[in-house]
């Protein structure tokens, strides 16, 4: 049995809570749960799912570190989190773990998004976070999928099939959604409306990220990184290549898990 210790990382986000188990350089297992206004319960559920996936029992875990918006909330019993680490630190460490050449990670969360610039050891150089009008772009993605009657993956395929360039208001999710529905009501194709809606998300994220210099390699964290249509638009707007990560929605949780030894 590998003598290195097993650590757990919990990323307690606004909408989804993610958990991961890491031993040395190896990811043993991961799981997630809808936060649903009960961060502690969701953290427990996510951790249980990660343990099952990794076939590891709770006692074998040497330490748990939490990150994300509700990192302090999930510190409460019964999970017994030992340490917490801010999201931007977890993002930097997690991104480096998954790609050691990365220097900038753009984390698109359900409610908030940010860009983190770091050096080769994960020390922070700069961070930019979104403003209030740009909140909820992840939730907007789910809402648009529902409005177009497709699954979350389906929204990406739909957008990729777009043939006509439409655009919606890019100020906030509420006006983007109302204009997207307006386009549908005019008889525009669902694929084109899906593409216009995704471009709203990418435009906002890219605008925020490009407020600071983006050092290569640029990677993307968060569930939306798995949406191919978004990943097609992002490099164009950033005028930078974007390298895909596997397990993008677990970057924060991974970063937390491997931060157990590091300074507080």
């Amino acid at each position: 049995m590998n003598k290195e210790k097993i650590f757990a990382g919990i990323d307690a986000g606004h909408v989804r809570t993610k958990a991961v188990l890491v031993r040395g350089k190896e990811i043993l297992g991961y799981g997630s749960a809808a936060t649903g206004f009960d961060a502690v319960n969701a953290a427990q559920e996510a951790l249980t799912r990660a343990l099952e996936a990794a076939k590891v029992s709770r006692d074998d875990v040497a330490g748990i570190v939490s990150t994300g918006i509700f990192r302090d909330v999930v510190k409460a019993l019964p999970i017994a989190v030992q340490r917490t680490v801010p999201e931007y630190m977890a993002d930097a460490k997690g991104a480096l773990f998954l790609n050691k050449n990365s220097r900038t990670v753009i984390d698109i969360g359900a409610n908030v998004h940010k860009a983190v610039h770091y050096d080769k050891d994960g020390n922070l150089l700069d961070v930019i976070q979104n403003d209030k009008c740009a909140d909820g772009v992840g939730i907007f993605y789910t809402t648009m999928a529902k409005a177009l009657g497709v699954s979350e993956e389906g929204l990406s395929e739909l957008a990729l099939a777009s043939t006509k360039q439409l655009s919606v208001a890019i100020h906030c999710a509420a006006s983007a959604e109302s204009e997207a529905i307006g386009l549908l009501c005019q008889g525009e194709e669902a694929a084109d409306v899906a593409d216009a809606s995704l471009r709203f998300i990418v435009e906002r994220v890219a605008a925020m990220a490009s407020t600071m210099p983006l050092e290569q390699e640029v990677v993307v964290a968060g569930g939306l990184a798995k949406c191919k249509a978004l990943m097609k638009h992002l490099p164009v707007l950033l005028k930078q290549d974007v390298t895909l990560l596997n397990l993008p929605e677990y970057v924060g949780a991974i970063g937390a898990a491997i931060s157990y030894e590091g300074e507080k």
Binding site: D126, Q129, D135, P213
Partner: protein, 438 residues
């Protein structure tokens, strides 16, 4: 041990006194208008002039009566004012619409006391439009707005000084016609000297914050400058600022500060006091991060050397210079007054991004800042929003910089959760920078 400012109560009473005079005066003239305008011209009409100024009143009411202010803002929106109009304006006009007014000592008076005339200014897109709206709603109050034009180095540009002075001259004739009062040039000259003296004194007090530890912090600065905004033409206001100047000099001499733990010195550009929110204040206090200089408290009504061979200098002006000013004719007094107000940092920053940038760089250098905190106000149309996103882009690589997403008094538009996340980051970046340079 944290020092408690002795002059504190005198300042509070003076400010509240001015408001109570406006509310309950039984004689004299009630004058409404932006206190960013030149106030001395009003005092040539006599010393029974009771002032209420849109901005300081809205700011202090929002602090004293938050729920009442929220109702005022919504009342203005319900009456048709733009949803994105200045929140000071909405609060101030909302009080007129609801016909009740709340002031700094917590009183809420039913029945809004109508002003006899409106004397104001116009610089941002909205300034005089506030008072056109209030004048219309109160049945057409006579109104005179002086266009303060603004821009970097304005006080050294003769065409701008003449333009503003010519308007003030016409304004004084108008004041006499509208009030039917004789105009006293002695009272006017005395008011001009007082006004300039208070503005220069405030600049000197702020300059003392260059010392370590800085004697005053943003919370005290924000509380101590409004009396100068409310009415800075009285002998009493001059005395207030002279005593405060002596007290702060004494604090510097003895190394005293209202916030002694100043491991991190912050320069603050913005109106909104989001940093003052309990959560943000706790994060900053825990690491000894204090705001030692800010363009809002220094520059709303304070004067400094200004642009000196192309670069901004926050060096103060010697108060004795004010005593030697030649105010022997009305025109001379008007021109000195126009120059001093055109010299305000805020007026210069509104219309010249290069002046604002130079102010930020100078403040960071002269006040030895460890971090730049930007708080562009969502509904403000002056230099408490203009150019800030650009400032972040320019300064982000030089010094830890964050930008709050906030508003001046409309709590609904403040991103407090976001501000908390950004404050944690701000502290982290400043600590990391200090470690790297240590």
């Amino acid at each position: 041990m944290a020092y408690a400012v002795k002059a504190w109560n005198d300042f509070k009473n003076y400010q509240t006194g001015c408001y109570r005079d406006y509310l309950y005066a039984t004689e004299g003239l009630r004058v409404m208008g932006s206190t960013w305008s030149v106030l001395a011209p009003l005092k040539g009409l006599g010393d029974d002039i009771h002032l209420i100024g849109g901005e300081p009143h809205a700011a202090s009411t929002a602090g004293t009566l938050p729920d009442e202010s929220r109702e005022n803002i919504i009342a203005a929106e319900s009456a048709g004012l733009g949803f994105h109009s200045c929140s000071y304006l909405k609060l101030f006009t909302g009080e007129v619409i609801r016909d009740k007014i709340g002031i700094t000592d917590g009183t809420i008076k039913e029945g809004y006391p109508k002003p006899d005339l409106i004397w104001t200014t116009h610089l941002c897109n909205q300034h005089s439009k506030w008072y056109q709206e209030v004048s219309r709603r109160l049945g057409g109050i006579p109104m005179f707005a002086v266009d303060m034009i603004g821009g970097g180095n304005a006080e050294k540009d003769s065409k701008i000084v003449n333009y503003v002075s010519n308007q003030i001259e016409l304004g004084i004739d108008w004041l006499q016609r509208v009030t039917g009062r004789e105009y006293s040039d002695e009272l006017f000259a005395k008011a001009v000297r007082n006004e300039i003296k208070v503005l220069v004194l405030w600049g000197n007090i702020c300059a003392l914050n260059r010392h370590a530890p800085a004697p005053l912090d943003e919370r005290r600065l924000i509380a101590l400058f409004p009396p100068a905004v409310v009415d800075r033409t009285t002998d009493e206001s001059v005395r207030l600022y002279e005593t405060l100047f002596e007290e702060v000099k004494q604090m510097v001499a003895t190394g005293q500060s209202v916030a002694p733990d100043q491991r991190f010195r912050i320069v603050y550009f913005g109106i909104a006091h989001t940093y003052g929110h309990p959560e943000m204040a706790r994060i900053l206090r825990d690491v000894g991060a204090e705001i030692v200089a800010s363009v809002y408290t220094f520059g709303t009504c304070g004067n400094f050397k200004g642009i000196v061979n192309g670069k901004w200098s926050w060096d103060p002006i010697d108060p004795k210079w004010v005593d030697e000013l030649d105010l022997s004719t009305r025109r001379k007094a008007i021109e000195e007054l126009a120059k001093i107000v055109l010299g305000w940092p805020t007026w210069q920053g509104v219309r010249s991004y290069w002046a604002l940038e130079s102010m930020a760089q100078a403040m960071i250098d002269e006040y030895h800042a460890d971090g730049l905190l930007l708080a562009p106000s969502r509904s403000c149309e002056t230099d408490f929003r203009n150019g800030y996103v650009g400032l972040q882009r320019i300064f982000k690589s030089k010094i830890p910089t964050i930008e709050y997403d906030t508003d001046q008094v409309d709590v609904r538009q403040m991103d407090l959760p976001g501000a908390q996340r950004k404050t944690e980051l701000f502290v982290h970046l400043m600590e990391a920078r200090k470690r790297r340079s240590a």
